[in-house]
């Protein structure tokens, strides 16, 4: 059962491609690592950026047909399923350091 935003995204990716569960989760994990993101503290905007900028290339490398459209479909699905899972709060280190410097 999907519990975190990462789980939801990996599940949708698995459903939208020929990848099995392990491959879908592994591919997403690699993209998140490449993006410098923590699996446990993902937010919807962060996931969107990953699906827009990194996942098309990752899926292309794995032979998934029409990767950009697949990413868009997965992201649309996630946005509606996980609207309450957005964890971008004033408590993230990026937000704190942004505030502290007055930018």
């Amino acid at each position: 059962m999907a519990t975190t935003l990462f789980d939801i995204a990996a599940e949708r990716l698995e459903e939208s491609t020929d990848m099995d569960r392990l491959a879908a989760r592994g591919t997403l994990r690699l993209a998140l690592k490449e993006a410098g993101l923590d699996v446990e503290n993902l937010s919807v905007p962060q996931l969107r950026a990953v699906f827009e900028k990194l996942m098309p290339n990752e899926l292309d490398m794995r032979g998934v047909a029409n990767p950009a459209a697949t990413c868009k479909a997965v992201m649309d699905d996630i946005a509606s399923a996980a609207s309450t899972a957005d964890l971008a709060t004033s408590k993230s280190p990026d937000e704190i350091f942004k505030r502290l410097g007055g930018s």
């Binding site: 993006a35 410098g36 993101l37 827009e52 280190p93 990026d94 704190i96 410097g101």
Partner: protein
């Protein structure tokens, strides 16, 4: 000590007070804890630097022991919010971080408490209480530097896909440097304790190490918390942000 070393400390203390006041003002507006904790640390450190160097600046022999102890406690009291800042920003969910905060707080407090009970501030490497205090206030500097370095590496990746403003990614680097310069200053404290404890005069190397670390700390804090426009523009211009394949 060399006169320029005192002046450096006075400048550092004044800057820390200003930075602390700015963060505390920010806290009044946002009601968020990190700015309160870091603001308290900077303000108390600034007060310590100024208090500690006032006798040399005003050319009197030394503070009475009671005031010296109060000045010492001012710095140690600043270490607590510093530790809580690091934990609350970087390691909110890690139980070990709580233990590290407790251990550092205990070491810093116990060492200073022993000085208080003895009735005077004494720096000597032969004194295990001084060493305990030193570990208590040095470990947080190293810890901050390490955590900021880890975040600098991941934030540089986030910046590439537009998830972290380049100036914020750079701020992690500046805080890494700040922590490292503070560790250097703490190492200079050891050298100072060694020389003073063995009745030698403070060497030029210790003076320069301390002064250099303080000035370098101020420069990186200035860039981190009061970034001039030219610096912000320079960092932003250098940043490389990946295009979105879908846009094409």
């Amino acid at each position: 000590m060399d006169e320029s070393a005192y002046l450096t400390s006075i400048v550092a203390g004044t800057f820390l007070l200003i930075a602390g006041a700015r963060l505390l003002r920010l806290h009044r507006r946002t009601r968020e804890r990190p700015e309160l904790l870091l603001g308290l640390y900077f303000a108390l450190s600034g007060a310590y630097y100024l208090g500690y160097n006032t006798p040399s600046l005003l050319q009197f022999d030394a503070w009475p022991p009671l005031i010296e102890l109060a000045i010492e406690w001012t710095y140690i009291l600043g270490v607590f919010p510093y530790l809580f800042f690091i934990r609350s920003v970087f390691r909110r969910r890690d139980a070990w971080a709580g233990w590290l905060v407790a251990a550092c707080s205990a070491l810093a407090s116990v060492g200073t408490l022993k000085m208080t009970l003895d009735g005077n501030v004494e720096y000597s490497l032969d004194d295990p209480w001084f060493v305990a205090q030193w570990i208590g206030y040095t470990a947080p500097c190293f810890w901050l530097s390490w955590e900021a370095l880890l975040y600098q590496r991941s934030s540089a990746k986030r910046a590439r896909i537009g998830l972290c403003p380049p100036i914020v990614a750079n701020r992690y680097l500046l805080i890494t440097l700040f922590g490292s310069f503070q560790v250097l200053a703490c190492l200079a404290d050891l050298s100072y304790a060694n020389e003073v404890g063995s009745d030698q005069s403070v060497s030029l190397i210790t003076d320069r190490l301390l002064g250099g670390a303080e000035i370098a700390s101020i420069v990186v804090l200035w860039l981190a918390f009061f970034p001039p426009r030219f610096y912000t523009n320079w960092i932003t211009r250098r940043a490389v942000i990946l295009p979105t394949p879908m846009d094409g």
